[in-house]
Amino acid sequence: MVTTEQVWAALAEIPDPEIPIISLVDLGVIRDVAVDNGTVRVAFTPTFLGCPALEVMRDAMAERVRALGAEPEITVRSDDSWSTDRITPEGREKLRASGFAPPAPREASAPTLVQLQANVFRCPYCGSTDTRLENIFGPTPCRSLRYCASCRQPFEQFKTI
């Protein structure tokens, strides 16, 4: 009989398809795990609704659950109860260490994102707050492009959702 702890441990080994240094558990997108006899129900929330990695993540989770000898039931929860504030401290540190600025807290950034950016967006390389927005949009929907005026390094900023 599979335990929820075993399921969480298995899911923690799945890398994010687009930022593989961080796992789905670090990212905080797995909302709920429930074991019911031979069935494992996993609920997760995509960072962005149009995330092209959604199917890849769903399949990876199903595969891990099957490897534990259980039948997966993966559901997508599309509501506002998840935010980038749920990214774990370990996850934030992994992001920063590989050159992605972690998302600013929701409270500090919404709804006047533009005015407050300067205080909350820190360069992941040198730690300076002297950074500016280059493009709201980046290589994936969940990232923006910023530039650090202090160490003259462009970097990617995880968007606050």
Partner: protein
């Protein structure tokens, strides 16, 4: 979910699907590399919103998001005419973007107050993403607001927001052909 609410969700989903396709037409050819990235990203988000909205309606009607998105006749779509126009000049693209995001924000506020927790929850999630579209539209509005070509484009396109959703342009028929050609060419029984 009552019929009226389903219709509203379909209107929004159709707007987002069609506008998403139109925005994606800038991929590779926008006047600035940053805008190439921006409109591609916005397109991806809008189509993601359309899918999530179709899924809610599909659940009520015992069908699928894909069937709602692609198996209706063009005349059955509920999108606004402003979303249908093809590859506009840049000033018109920005004018449409600005007008659309403004109108979209108003109806999302309405949906966030819905009694149906699935509708309200999804609307709140969509709104978080749309906040970035609005920032982008506002940035361009501030840049172009004193340009005569831009203000003329805003004046020209504004009426198309509320022009009614029963009549469509020739451009929607053409887009429907492109959008569904692969799906229609598949042998019966193909699963996606």
């Amino acid at each position: 979910m009552n019929e009226q609410e389903q219709q509203l969700l379909l209107e929004i989903a159709d707007d987002e699907l069609i506008l998403g396709w139109r925005d994606s037409e800038w991929t590779g050819i926008a006047p600035l590399l940053e805008e190439d990235v921006a409109f591609s990203s916005i397109a991806q988000n809008e189509i993601g919103h359309a899918r999530a909205l179709y899924e809610l309606v599909a659940r009520e009607r015992g069908t699928t998001a894909d069937e709602l998105a692609f198996d209706r006749a063009p005349s059955e779509y509920r999108c606004a005419r402003i979303a249908e126009l093809r590859l506009l000049d840049w000033e018109k693209t920005i004018a449409r973007h600005y007008l659309y995001e403004e109108a979209d924000a108003r109806r999302l506020e309405q949906l966030k107050a819905s009694d149906d927790p699935d509708v309200a929850g999804l609307a709140a999630k969509i709104d978080r993403e749309e906040a970035y579209h609005r920032m982008h539209a506002q940035m361009w509005f501030d840049r172009l607001k004193d340009e005569a070509r831009f203000t003329a484009a805003v004046d020209e396109l504004r009426p198309l927001l509320d022009a009614g959703r029963d009549d469509h342009t020739q451009e929607l028929d053409e887009l429907w052909e492109e959008m569904t050609v692969v799906r229609r060419s598949q042998p019966a029984g193909t699963t996606w």
